[in-house]
């Protein structure tokens, strides 16, 4: 950790103090009386799983969302921001993951946009570019300011965005997932700039899913969960395991009845249904191994962004792997598109139901038969009678509510959409089904239904790869758990040999001793 954190007195008057921030969306309490404090010259990480309220809090601070209750004090003055321009004028600048600059303008124009050096009514471009170059040099960058922004890497674009924030004289710099598309060297470069700015007294709010990076750069950590504040900690006082526990929390176990599933013994003497060796993709996943045997449920555990989704997308051909080998039933196969995987009887249900699963404007019935229809091709239409039979069988088996096959699928609740997707894939009679976060954002009842179905099907011989942020769920269903962190497979455990705390510890710490 940097010496700054130890030297900065906690009493240094905060540059931003948010107290009792509450934000309501229709039907949801997005933030519930959250306090958040930023001090000058610190890097402060905001941690939490998806839906914890991180981005809502940032948007409350930057004037995107209106605050229902609570106060924001910036530089000792109470403020109500009604737009991002308001927040910027008070010295709060944000650099998003997807850089929000004008890609078709030059680097210099982007940095100085709205603050160009003027000579009378016209812009003095020479002086403007010189000023832009000075800002870049102060960040240790030597870039031609007349080159087009789009020609630079995301890393450079982010540095340009930071330079722009400096032009706006930012006292607070918010970096929302800045490192998610950077490689190791680029992250180091960015961190050098961040440390430099911190030493100059800028307060930096940092958001990242990479634990290593958070521990590398932060002085202080605030943890949110389900819209509530869990606490604020100095980084030295919060071991990784505790951080993960605080982020994930513990859910009451309504499903202990299923606990026998995980302890079922699996015959691993034959050939695996699927065996992947060294499957990886540059910038997305370091080469990883995975095997699944008939009737086995393999869990993948890890935080969001750990590479768990990237891995299964490569196995399914949703993205192309650039290394490694995949064997299905012992024969090497090329999986470069979802069709290849489907032809090998592998099914995949994406974590993003709305964008990558449900066809919103089609009916429930049409959504369910889409998988079989695509398999047969356009010309062999599934007959009315067959469609009715398939649809009613799976709607009944999975308990889709309402039980109306002609309802528009987009109008179903999340849990029922998930059931429809499960029905679509089960109707294709797969041998292996990959479920990525099948229970995210759905109610407990639907969650239980889906877990029971997974248990039941695997007992009948279906192989399953099960991804969930809820570790209890993974431990309950899977016989083996593959653990991932920072886009790497860090190991594998048998779920009968590990408990929840052990798994949390594994996710947070395993391999650190050797890597550090």
């Amino acid at each position: 950790m940097s010496p700054m954190s130890a030297d900065t007195p906690v009493t240094a008057s905060p540059v931003v103090a948010m107290t009792g921030i509450t934000i309501r969306f229709p039907g949801v309490l997005a933030l519930d009386a959250v306090d958040f404090t930023l001090r000058p010259g610190e890097v402060h990480s905001l941690m939490g799983e998806n839906g914890a309220g991180k981005s809502t809090l940032i948007k409350a601070l930057t004037g995107v969302y209106r605050i229902d209750e609570g106060t924001v004090v910036v530089g000792g003055e109470q403020r109500v921001f009604t737009s991002t321009a308001d927040a910027q004028a008070s010295g709060i600048s944000t650099v998003y993951q997807e850089v929000n600059l004008c890609a078709n303008l030059s680097v210099g124009e982007n940095i100085m946009l709205g603050h160009e050096v003027r000579r009378g009514p016209s812009i003095d471009w020479k002086a403007t570019h010189r000023a832009a170059a000075e800002h870049l040099v102060s960040l240790g960058q030597d870039i031609d300011t007349r080159s087009m922004l789009a020609h630079h890497s995301i890393a450079i674009q982010q540095l340009v965005a930071i330079s722009r924030a400096m032009v706006l004289d930012a006292k607070v710099l918010i970096l929302d997932e800045p490192t998610s598309s950077l490689d190791r060297d680029e992250v180091e470069q960015l961190f050098a700039v961040i440390r430099d700015l911190r030493d100059k007294g800028v307060a930096i709010l940092f958001v990242s899913h990479f634990l290593d990076q958070v521990y590398d750069i932060s002085d202080r950590i605030t943890v949110l969960r389900n819209g509530t504040l869990i606490g604020e900690y100095a980084v030295g006082d919060l071991p990784r395991g505790e951080l993960v526990t605080k982020m994930i929390g513990r859910e009451l176990d309504e499903l202990s009845a299923l606990s026998s599933v995980a302890s079922r013994s699996i015959d691993r003497s034959g050939t695996p249904v699927l065996q992947a060796q060294g499957v990886g993709r540059r910038g997305a996943l370091e080469p990883a191994d995975l095997s699944v045997y008939p009737g086995e449920v393999v869990g993948i555990a890890g935080l969001l962004g750990s590479g768990r989704t990237e891995l299964v997308r490569l196995l399914y051909g949703a993205d192309r792997a650039d290394s490694g080998q995949i064997d299905v039933h012992g024969t090497s196969v090329k999986v470069t598109s979802p069709r290849h995987a489907i032809d090998r009887r592998i099914a995949f249900s994406s974590e993003d139901r709305r964008a990558e699963g449900i066809i919103g404007d089609l009916t429930v019935a049409e959504n369910i038969v889409l998988g079989i229809q695509a398999q047969r091709g356009a010309l062999r239409k599934i007959g009315r009678a067959e469609q009715d039979a398939v649809v009613s069988e799976y709607m009944h088996a999975l308990g889709v509510r309402p039980a109306d096959p002609n309802m528009i699928a987009g109008n179903l609740s999340g849990g029922n959409q998930q059931k429809v997707l499960l029905a679509r894939w089960l109707a294709t009679a797969p041998e292996l089904i990959i479920l990525d976060e099948p229970t995210r954002g759905i109610d407990v009842g639907a969650k239980a239904d889906i877990q029971k179905k997974v248990a039941e099907l695997s007992a009948k011989g279906l192989s399953v790869i099960f991804i969930s942020s809820e570790l209890e769920e993974v431990l309950r269903l899977a016989q083996r758990v593959v653990v991932m962190r920072d886009r790497r497979r860090i190991g594998e455990v048998s779920s009968s040999e590990i408990d929840l705390d052990g798994l949390i510890d594994y996710i947070a710490n395993k391999g650190e001793e050797t890597a550090a």
């Binding site: 979802p338 994406s350 089609l362 998988g371 695509a374 091709g377 356009a378 109008n411």
Partner: protein
């Protein structure tokens, strides 16, 4: 009653009927249909006959739009198709020979297929945005047509070829029968096979369709090929009607009228759900409106404005926002029930 007014074709059909009624009131002989020498005559029959090229083009446009695309090149393909057919017929020794005409038709349709496949290739394989990909051919196609005709307006006198546009079969104009056959074939192909629903799936959510294993590339490619072929047939009818290949005027602006017909019929430009019946009604609205302009004697200088005003009225009358506003205004008691119905999300 409510089931009738809520039907998605209710407003397009109402607009069409209104146009017919207005015309009939203005001049009652508008709806008169007479039989002469085993052929039907009348303003309505003319509308059916004249609508054939637009009907064919709009049919293809419907399928392309359903895939989230657009095909701007249809007018140019019409010009090329007519140019190919007439150049072959004009260059032959015997323009009236059935064999010559058959060869000309086959060549014109073959070229149209190739042009449609070119569009499909650019969009589905190369991945160029549809509006840009088809713009290429929209601009270049007329140049190709001019090259084929050597820059002249090729005229021919071929009985069998003219028959395609002006002939009669079973009391009805041949051109209309061709369009009718195309409607039936496309409708059967889309709805009797799973092509229609897979096309909609690709148009609504391309990524989800890909992950579900739908061969979206082939479906999108096929849509542009279909559109090209239908535009080619339209080009043949157009050139057979005027007995000339006019590379500059053939199918001019027809892509815009076709898009209008698709939208009037109730298919969204966002892609996804499409209705062939709606497009048919949309084409008939446009064609009846053109006939109305002639029939009512609107001066040529004012006719575009007249056309535009009527289109705006038709579009506004169809708008769901207006219907909601009316419902809120006049049936406040019913409102809560119907609103709850549209917004319900079932857990």
């Amino acid at each position: 009653m409510k089931r009738v007014t809520r039907h998605r074709l209710f407003w397009p059909i109402t607009a069409l009927l209104t146009l017919v009624i207005v015309n009939t009131i203005a001049r009652p002989q508008f709806i008169a249909i007479t039989v002469r020498d085993g052929q039907l005559y009348g303003a309505l029959i003319d509308i059916l006959r004249n609508s054939a090229p637009l009907m064919l083009v709009a049919l293809g446009m419907t399928i392309v739009i359903a895939t989230r695309g657009i095909d701007l090149s249809v007018g140019a393909i019409m010009a090329v198709s007519g140019a190919v057919a007439l150049t072959i017929i004009g260059g032959s020794e015997d323009p009236g020979d059935i064999g010559t005409v058959t060869v000309a038709l086959a060549a014109a349709l073959g070229v149209s297929l190739v042009l449609g496949a070119w569009n499909g290739l650019l969009v589905s394989v190369v991945g160029i945005q549809p509006i840009i990909a088809t713009l290429v051919l929209m601009l270049a196609g007329r140049g190709v047509a001019l090259l084929i005709t050597d820059g002249f307006i090729t005229t021919v006198n071929s009985e069998p070829y003219s028959f395609i546009a002006t002939g009669y079969l079973l009391f009805l104009p041949v051109a209309f029968l061709i369009a009718l056959a195309a409607i039936v074939i496309v409708a059967l192909l889309e709805r009797r096979t799973a092509l229609g629903v897979l096309t909609e799936a690709v148009g609504i959510n391309p990524e989800a369709s890909r992950l579900a294993g739908v061969r979206s590339r082939g479906i999108i490619f096929g849509a542009y090929v279909t559109s090209g072929l239908l535009a080619g047939i339209a080009g043949i009818i157009y050139s057979a009607n005027i007995r000339a290949a006019d590379a500059n005027a053939a199918g001019l602006f027809i892509e815009l009228y076709a898009i209008l017909a698709v939208v009037l019929g109730g298919t969204s430009l966002m892609g996804g759900k499409f209705t062939i019946a709606g497009t048919v009604v949309g084409v008939l609205i446009i064609q009846t409106l053109e006939a109305t302009i002639l029939f009512l004697g609107v001066p040529p200088a004012q006719s575009p404005v007249f056309f535009a005003v009527v289109v705006i009225v038709v579009v506004v009358v169809q708008a769901p926002q207006l219907h909601r506003w009316f419902r809120r205004r006049f049936t406040s008691g019913e409102r809560s029930a119907s609103d709850a119905k549209t917004k319900v999300e079932v857990a």
